[in-house]
Amino acid sequence: MNVNQHTPMAPPYGQPQPGYGQPGYGQPNYAPLDGGYPAPYAPHNGPASAYHPGIPQQGPARGPPTSGPPPVQAAPQYNQHSSGDIQNGPPPVTQAPPRPPASMQYNQGGVNMSAQQPSFPQHYGPPPTMHQVTNQMTGMHISSGPPTPAGPGYAPPPSSQPPTSSHYGGTPQPSYSQSHPPASSAPSQPPPSSAPAVSQQYYPSSAPPSQQPFNSLPPTSQQRFVSPVQPQQTFPPSSSSSYSGPAPPPTHTSSAPVTQPQQPFLPPQPPFSSAPSGQPPAFTAGPPPPTQGSFPLQAPPPSSQPGSFPPPGPPPSSVASGQYPSSMPPPPQQQPPQSQPPPFHPGPPPPQSQMPPTSIGQSNHQPPGPQGPPSPTGPLQQPPLQQGMPTGYPPQHNGAFGQVRSPQPGYGGPYPGQPNYGAPAPAPQAQKRLDPDAIPSPIQVIEDDKAKTNEPFTTGVRGQAPPLVTTNFQVKDQGNASPRFVRCTAYNMPCTADMAKQSQVPLAAVIKPLATLPPDETPPYVVDHGEGGPIRCNRCKAYMCPYMQFIEGGRRFQCSFCSCVTEVPPHYFQHLDHTGKRVDCYDRPELSLGSYEFLATVDYCKNNKIPQPPAFIFLIDVSYNAVKSGLVSIICQELKSLLDHLPRENPEIDSVIRVGFVTYNKVLHFYNVKASLAQPQMLVVSDVSDMFVPLLDGFLVNVNESRQVIESLLDQIPEMFADTRETETVFGPVIQAGLEALKAADCAGKLFVFHTSLPIAEAPGKLKNREDKKLIGTDKEKSLFQPQAGFYNNLAKECVTQGCCVDLFLFPNQYVDVATLGVVPVSTGGSIYKYTYFQAQSDQERFLNDLRRDIQKPVGFDAVMRVRTSTGIRATDFYGSFFMNNTTDVELAGLDCDKAITVEFKHDDKLSEETGALMQCAVLYTSCSGQRRLRIHNMAVNCCSQLADLYRNCETDTIINFLSKYAFRGVLNNPTKAVRDTLVNQCAQILACYRKNCASPSSAGQLILPECMKLLPVYLNCVLKSDVLLPGADVSLDDRAYLRQLISCMDVAETHVFFYPRLLPLVKLESGALPVAVRDSEERLSKGGVYLLETGLHLFLWVGASVQQELLLNIFGTPSFGQIDSSMTSLPVLENPFSQRLREIIESFRAQRSRYMKLVVVKQEDRAELMFKHFLVEDKSASGGASYVDFLCHMHKEIRQLLS
């Protein structure tokens, strides 16, 4: 505990290590561990146990009830799935694959049941050896809770599970086993004729990958992590598939009957079930296999654990230990896999390995094993490591292990000693410490997810978690908003507030209302309901959406949010078909899609007036600093061309956005650029104490009409101020000026403020320099994040009222008080860009690209967002760049495509599993063409009465997004240390709750993480170590305030890469695929390599000291390390494939992010490397942040404290 708290000093974790070793954690842990090992595996069973009283023997327990029925149920389940498959079959199939991992788990389950024993024994067999190691490993075992959760989640039909498991176990395993080896070839699965095919396909292709990932990861994590997630995931795909096919609704209806028993699953299943009745049969017979694929997860866990695991129990533990041990010593790492493999191999071997997902821990271990045994895997692993991406399995394995091993082999040479880098894990420590390779690897998870995502993600199935943000996938809107618009922390919400409180899992959604979609996805349709405006519920005012139930022959509809019944206006009337759906359902986006737009009527406009086209106003600082740095001329030059690229909806038409220009230092200069003038006119306003707009006509103009005057102006501005000696600036009046201009023109708009210095000139909003490093770490630190003058809060409020969004570009050479200057941009939905020590030569490119993007990006104005939810939950808190006047309406003066808003939900009543939880996010805004519109995003998630379901359907990336925003807001009012503690606490509670309620009993010394949260610790650690919460000595207050504000409107993808940067080894670059990333640790860097690191804000090219000459020639065109110019901001254009590809990659990275990343070349052991190392987030940070390993230990300790 203490460890974490000691922020300033590295000691926390550093010390801990020793501590962990023996004192603190060590002994207790160890002791139990040994004894506990059996337990650890038990945990696997545990989950099952959790669900079913009979813990260990769950198998039997379940069996009884289920056994008999189970098969049947299973069958039905499968049927459903199968049905789903069938219906969706063709289409969905693709989706299913991603989930396969789940199937893996099931397989395990299956394994347990039938083949289990054999397999396990084998598996476990080997473990013993491991035990020894494990001892050393200590309590860090991370058992995969997943199995259990999965069980429960799906369990609802607990009874059925066991049976299913059995079924699955039997059939699936074989099938998988076979399938695996063959890779995707479905042959083995043939058994299930109908479903099988599907399942096979899925599994083969997708499943393997999933397994592999697990395997790879597993080795380390497997034991620790059971991946409950996987099961869930698997389902969703299937469900999605179902949707993809026909119409979601029907599926539901049909599904209902069949699924009920399985309801938990149902949600996904329903779709499937509905379709083919005939399928069931198929399933019955063949089902097992298919189910395995999909269900396995659920069923298996329980069953497998009880049945198979128990026996193996001991061994497993050993296995687990084995893993750790392996990790401990560098060499062991390799061994562990190997060691494990043997165990697995012996068993039903291959299949199991694949199946393992459920047993993850084991499986993981196994995978290596399996690989080893199976000739293919073995080879694959090592070589493939980095390279072999292609096929599901091998690549994954490779990837997974690759990381682990690859370094060794590839880098191995240099690394083995690791000592080279010294920093992280010196050999000695290693013995006491955990093996970094043994703990959950983000890379592994990411790669696994990528591998299993082969098909478009369809949103038709409720409660289906989408692929990770790091995965490229296509989305098909079938009734729920695309994950590009909305991502939830949990896709299965607890039914009651008590559960939610118990689990501490934040319930939140990250909404990016105007997100840009890739070209292959259709942007939301615009719906016009005529003069009456959009159809809405009478009571709660929810907008027409697919969830509305039409009744009485279509004359009324019942709101699914508040249950109120509303008349359908005559012009909207439509008959219902026999299923109760409107006949025109598929012709109307608002009845069939998750996201769409309504044209708003005049009632939705401010003052009941159709809005004027918006305006852009450019406010340029022309004080001495700005002029001297060349900034002014750069801006003016750029604006000339940029003005042709103002946002517009139809590229054929000129933008209707009007523009205006202001320059300022201590006074403001407005420009009249009316088209009829021969020369622009400058109007100076020196009365900054009482700002006003000096002109109306000619200030805001159409670019095309006034082009000549504008160009003349932009040419002259730099000249006019070339000799300025004015160093003081104002700031408050500048925004006031823009605001007044918009007021005068009676329109909404956006201000682009280019500002250089602390506004110390006498004027409203004048600031003083209050940067005081002494306050850092004290209770007063929070005041530094608060604005120093209330003036800006009021100003922000006014801006929001007018729809005046402010984008701030800062070019400070010293403290400018971002915390205060940022108040208005942040409250108005604007952005802040900061270019410290701006120099034309090196920063121009970044600035201009940011500016271009900022000006061109799609944007809405004067927006109000309202999130409505179904009864039972309520949107209670919002995070992002906006302003709130009351508790429900999020007001955004401007809303662009990069802004995300995180919404937190709280229970105010019970939710029903049947109806799930609905949310509708409606954003009323003025489009860039001046049209008033409503963008609607609908999202439905499942509800669960079992915690395990919750844990199985979480998305860690989104949780981290929420937690970081939560924490970064917290620093405004609390000492940062308290905020960090809160975070750690909450995280510990989440995991402890899981451990307590969902994981099978195991030794207290074992760390068991839910599958889909297994990265929570590593990511959380990154949040804790961020500059905001744990500043290094060289981090300025401005930087922290800047980051704090930046994070507040990031979406999940951005926070992900921000907290866990992407680190790509540049060894061989092939077109079409990126090299597999490596973990953010210095250990992973090879002295002979070149790496690209991306955070969304920074881009580094790290060059090892003993890099190969060929690489240097390819990249820099220079043969020697010494000749690399580390000040370059772009790579030389060289005519070789490597260089081309690298530059392509860099460009693609930049294109992905909302901010341009300046390339910084970092030479190993150069001074700049310090900065680079800051982003190696798995390592201990210079500011005292714990390394991943240490933090994990710490977290474990916290959890154990909570549990005891």
């Binding site: 006074v667 200069h669 407005f670 420009y671 003038l677 021969a678 020369q679 622009p680 006119q681 400058m682 109007l683 100076v684 306003v685 020196s686 009365d687 009482d690 006003f692 000096p694 002109l695 109306l696 006509d697 000619g698 003349s712 102006l713 002259q716 006019m720 000696r725 160093t727």
Partner: protein, 766 residues
């Protein structure tokens, strides 16, 4: 008394002075009994083409509180090279440069014909003339175009080195920077905020280095440059300014239905004054304000922007219903005083159909010597020609304007100065010759006139302080010296000194002499000025009563009559016209507000208190000429009986020129006789008054409203309201004369007035 008339005429021509009494009663008591005070109309810069200025400094009396200028009245001892001041009797040596004087070699200032003499002195740097245009942009497009044209034209009239500046205003106030190339720059001020002079200068960047630079770094001396940004020599910015004026647009802010445009006249003036104050204090400068409507916002607001609330009328003012009046007046007075203190004058050119707030703003011009011009539109010749008239030049090619005038009056011991009425402000100089009895602007013997024209005339009121028991020796003379320092329009500093003298007379023994020395024209104007001055602060009826009482007392004093017998009443020739002047004065718009808006009253009064005697008399009693086939044009009585059908009348009221065609003439004209060759004479008859009117139009400043009307025409009211209503609907048949036009009025006619006057004069109780 032709001698006196000649004497008066001669004095006026030479010195620009006309006294009410040309013999002064020798004691205070007697002086007060004369009713009309010893006073004079003085035209400081009366044009004297025959008077070349001398190129040296005047010689001053060395007594500290005298400082009178050497003049022809001084006793000079040529041998001792000493002169005695005729005011304080101090003996002063001549300065060394006068070493060569002798009785045959006298300097000009000692020669009697140089009782008025002008010195050119070299003091301080010569600063060019400064013209600051302050232009209202809330005008109709047509008006704005016309105004722009006039302004551009005026640039060509300015001397090349004159500095010009431009401020435009509407809802905002813009101070245009004229020095820059390319982009036209201007500083903008909000129209609703009252700013101090310091703030304005700060905002315009005119502050001296000392005030800036908290960085401790001395800022380059930019004041020269800074001030030049807004005020540039015409020759440098001619093109710029012409373009700028060309691009001048109407105030772009929308004016909603039922509203007046927001016009920030107050702030615009405040900025103009602040700008000049900061850049050219104590230098002659002319702020020319062009307005097309009342100030509707900010300080100095005269009326709100709601059209439904009309601008204040006399009725409102009397009922104390004019909301903004006091505040606005106070604001403009403060501005006027600041401006006057710095020697800058403010002209107001107000052209609008409705009132423009002259009532509130009048002090700007009244105190600084600026012009007020009132018209209906900038798009009229009345404005354009009047505006050109501002830049008219004299025989030397110099503008008929002077700046920064300071008039100082020195008197002999028997006299003291009570005050002055005219376009001036007091300099609060408490010299011994200042009387405690104030008339007009008193309490000082020095006044400042920021701007002067050759016709600017002050009424100076004096007091005889010699006690009755200290008689002045026979033949004693009193003397007054007017010392006027000013900046000539060619930027020279000049001093004009006028020394006049009059004989003392014992009122008891020489009352006839005194009576015959009475200048009834001057007295009428001087009394009228007093009345107008009072009218500014008192209720109209009170002023009339006071005037009546003065008249009655005068008649009692000088009339010849038997008590209680009105018919026996006679006045001597030197007073015979005086009651008639008073009669018309009572009816004049200077004292009557009925039928006049407050703006008009202010306008009329403004001009009345600054014009010379002739013009003032015309204002009091308009001149009526008759043109007919019966003889050459002749002046006729300003009486309704003069309105005959076969006459063309030309009336000059100073503000209006009315040509009135009698009924018959009008018929002839309609029948087109003038087009027929055989009626050339008729054509000439028609043309004659027009020619005469044109002559007047060309010379008069401001240009009068020219009205051409006929019998029964609606505009005939201008004539009918001026003539003595000797025939009205009440007495039309009683008079039974052959002609004349009855006036529909209840006003008393001159006859009735005189009857009453006689009655009161002879009454012992009055």
């Amino acid at each position: 008394m032709s001698t006196y008339q000649e004497f008066i005429q001669q004095n006026e021509d030479r010195d620009g002075v006309r006294f009410s009494w040309n013999l002064w009663p020798s004691s205070r008591l007697e002086a007060t009994r004369l009713v009309v005070p010893v006073s004079c109309l003085f035209t400081p810069l009366k044009e004297r083409p025959d008077l070349p200025p001398v190129q040296y400094e005047p010689v001053l009396c060395s007594r500290a509180n005298c400082k009178a200028v050497l003049n022809p009245l001084c006793q000079v001892d040529f041998r001792a090279k000493v002169w005695a001041c005729n005011f304080c009797f101090q003996r002063n040596p001549f300065p060394p440069s006068y070493a060569g004087i002798s009785e045959v070699n006298q300097p000009a200032e000692l020669m009697p014909q140089f009782s008025t003499i002008e010195y050119i002195v070299q003091r301080g740097p010569q600063t060019p003339l400064i013209f600051l245009y302050v232009v209202d942009t809330c005008l109709e497009e047509e008006d704005l175009q016309a105004l722009k044209g006039s302004l551009q034209m005026s640039l060509s009239l300015l001397p090349p080195n004159a500095l010009v500046g431009l401020i435009t205003f509407g809802r905002m106030v813009q101070v245009h920077e004229l020095s820059c190339e390319g982009i036209a720059k201007s500083y903008v001020f909000r129209g609703t905020k009252d700013l101090t002079s310091k703030q304005i200068q700060e905002m315009l960047g005119l502050m001296k280095p000392a005030a800036t630079g908290p960085q401790g770094r001395p800022v380059a001396p930019q004041d020269a440059v800074a001030s030049c940004r807004f005020l540039q020599p015409v020759h440098r910015v001619d093109m710029n300014l012409t373009d700028l004026l060309g691009e001048l647009q109407r105030d772009p802010w929308p004016v909603p239905q039922g509203k007046r445009p927001l016009r920030s006249t107050g702030v615009a003036l405040s900025v103009a004054v602040g700008l000049l104050e900061g850049t050219f204090p104590n230098t002659g400068a002319r702020v020319m304000l062009f307005v097309g409507g009342p100030p509707t916002q900010g300080p100095g607001m005269v009326v709100g922007d709601e059209l439904k609330t009309p601008i204040r009328s006399w009725h409102d003012i009397q009922k104390d219903n004019a909301r903004h009046l006091k505040k606005a007046t106070k604001f403009y007075e403060a501005l006027a005083n600041r401006s006057a203190a710095n020697g800058h004058c403010i002209d107001i050119y107000a052209c609008a159909l409705d009132q423009t707030g002259l009532l509130e703003m009048k002090c700007l011009s009244n105190l600084t010597g600026g012009h007020i011009v009132m018209g209906d539109s900038f798009n009229t010749s009345l404005f354009t020609q009047t505006f050109q008239g501002v830049f008219s030049k004299d025989f030397n090619g110099d503008f008929r304007m002077a700046f920064g005038g300071v008039l100082e009056i020195k008197t002999s011991r028997e006299l003291k100065v009570c005050g002055a009425i005219g376009p001036c402000v007091s300099l609060n100089s408490k010299a011994p010759c200042v009387s405690e009895n104030e008339m007009g602007i008193g309490g000082t013997n020095q006044w400042k006139m920021c701007s002067l024209t050759p016709s600017s005339t002050l009424g100076i009121y004096l007091e005889v302080v010699n006690q009755h028991n200290a008689p002045i020796p026979q033949g004693g003379r009193g003397a007054i010296q007017f010392v006027t320092q000013y900046q000539h329009s060619n930027t020279q500093k000049r001093i004009r000194v006028t020394t006049i003298t009059r004989n003392w007379a014992d009122a008891q023994s020489q009352i006839q002499h005194i009576e015959s020395s009475f200048d009834q024209e001057a007295a009428a104007v001087l009394m009228a000025r007093l009345g107008v001055f009072r009218a500014e602060s008192e209720e109209g009826p009170d002023v009339l009563r006071w005037l009546d009482r003065q008249l009655i007392r005068l008649c009692q004093k000088f009339g010849q009559y038997n008590k209680e017998d009105p018919t026996s009443f006679r006045l001597s020739e030197s007073l015979s016209l005086y009651p008639q002047f008073m009669f018309h004065l009572r009816r004049s718009p200077f004292l009557q507000v009925f039928n006049n808006s407050p703006d008009e009253s202010s306008y009329y009064r403004h001009h009345f208190t600054r014009q010379d005697l002739t013009q003032s008399l015309i204002m009091i009693q308009p001149i009526l000429y008759s043109y007919s086939f019966h003889g050459p044009p002749e002046p006729v009585l300003l009486d309704s009986s003069s309105i005959l059908p076969d006459r063309i009348l030309l009336m000059d009221t100073f503000f209006q020129l009315v040509i009135y065609h009698g009924e018959t003439i009008a018929q002839w004209q309609k029948a087109g006789y003038q087009e027929m060759p055989e009626y050339q004479n008729f054509k000439q008859l028609l043309k004659a008054p027009q020619d005469d009117a044109n002559d007047i139009l060309e010379t008069r400043f401001p240009m009068p409203r020219y009205i051409n009307t006929e019998h029964g025409g609606s505009q005939a009211r201008f004539l009918l309201s001026k003539v003595n209503p000797s025939q009205t609907h009440n007495n039309l048949y009683a008079w039974g004369q052959e002609s004349g036009a009855p006036i529909l009025t209840d006003d008393v006619s001159l006859q009735v007035f005189m009857d009453h006057l006689k009655k009161l004069a002879v009454s012992s109780s009055a």
